[in-house]
Amino acid sequence: CRSSFLPSRVLPFEVVLLRFVAMADELEDFVRKLLPTVDGLEAILITDRDGVIVLKASTPSMPEAAARPNFLATYPISCEQASKLGLGTNQNLVCMYDNYQVVQMNYLPLVVTLLAREDANTGLLLGLRASLDSCLEELKQAVEVP
């Protein structure tokens, strides 16, 4: 058995993987429960800096093209540029289009994207950051290279 050759404080790979899968399921459940808390919120996407989706919770009416990496990866580049404006690190970006609004939050190397209808309450969307803080910290640690 593989575990008999490892020091006691290091978990076998299979156990680490199971823990990660359980954490991912728990996070997905948590994020899915956040969706109906703001009227008009269509999707919560957690992605890496290249726009690849790590976690997704969405309504059926969410436009699929908004989940593509080339759209989601706009924020990390813009965030890096915005952090050079002399106003410190960029924390959030809100972009309002005619039918939708996009709120993106800096948790680099992760990015949280909230896609909502244009008439959704932007203040409440930004307020979701407080709810996401604790679970994103755990996910960040799992994703970051030590």
Partner: protein
């Protein structure tokens, strides 16, 4: 014809209550007019803000079939930036963190409405 001094004075009127500076950019991202603090970095800030605006405008059209980008807010550690389109130009406001987003949006939209007609005339004439 566009009167640069008059335009700067109009932009300067927005620089109250925590708003540090207001800039107007053309469609290529070049600075048209600037009012407020930090004029030495104005070319850099105008290039950065226009980059952000055009990136979201382009990707918004592709991903969300958005015909129009109405507003972009940048919420940074030590300040806030708001941008909107006015005529064929981009209007940006830089403010302290103490300025609420709602108030910044209201100021930006009020100034945008005020400048829209004169700038449309300049663009067409």
């Amino acid at each position: 014809m566009l009167k640069p001094r008059a335009l700067t004075q109009v932009l300067h009127q927005a620089n109250t209550g925590g708003v540090r500076s207001t800039i107007l950019l053309n469609n290529e991202g070049s600075l048209v007019s600037f009012a407020g603090n930090g004029d030495k970095e104005s070319k850099v800030t105008s290039a950065i803000t226009s980059n952000v605006w055009f990136a979201y405008e382009k990707h918004g059209k592709n991903a969300l079939s958005a015909e129009e980008t109405k507003l972009i807010f940048l919420d940074c550690e030590n300040g806030r930036v708001a941008m909107t389109r006015v005529a064929s130009m981009i209007l940006c406001m830089f403010a302290d963190k103490s300025v609420g987003m709602g108030l910044l949006k209201a100021k930006l939209q009020a100034l945008s409405r005020y400048l829209d007609e004169p700038l449309q005339q300049v663009a067409s004439g």
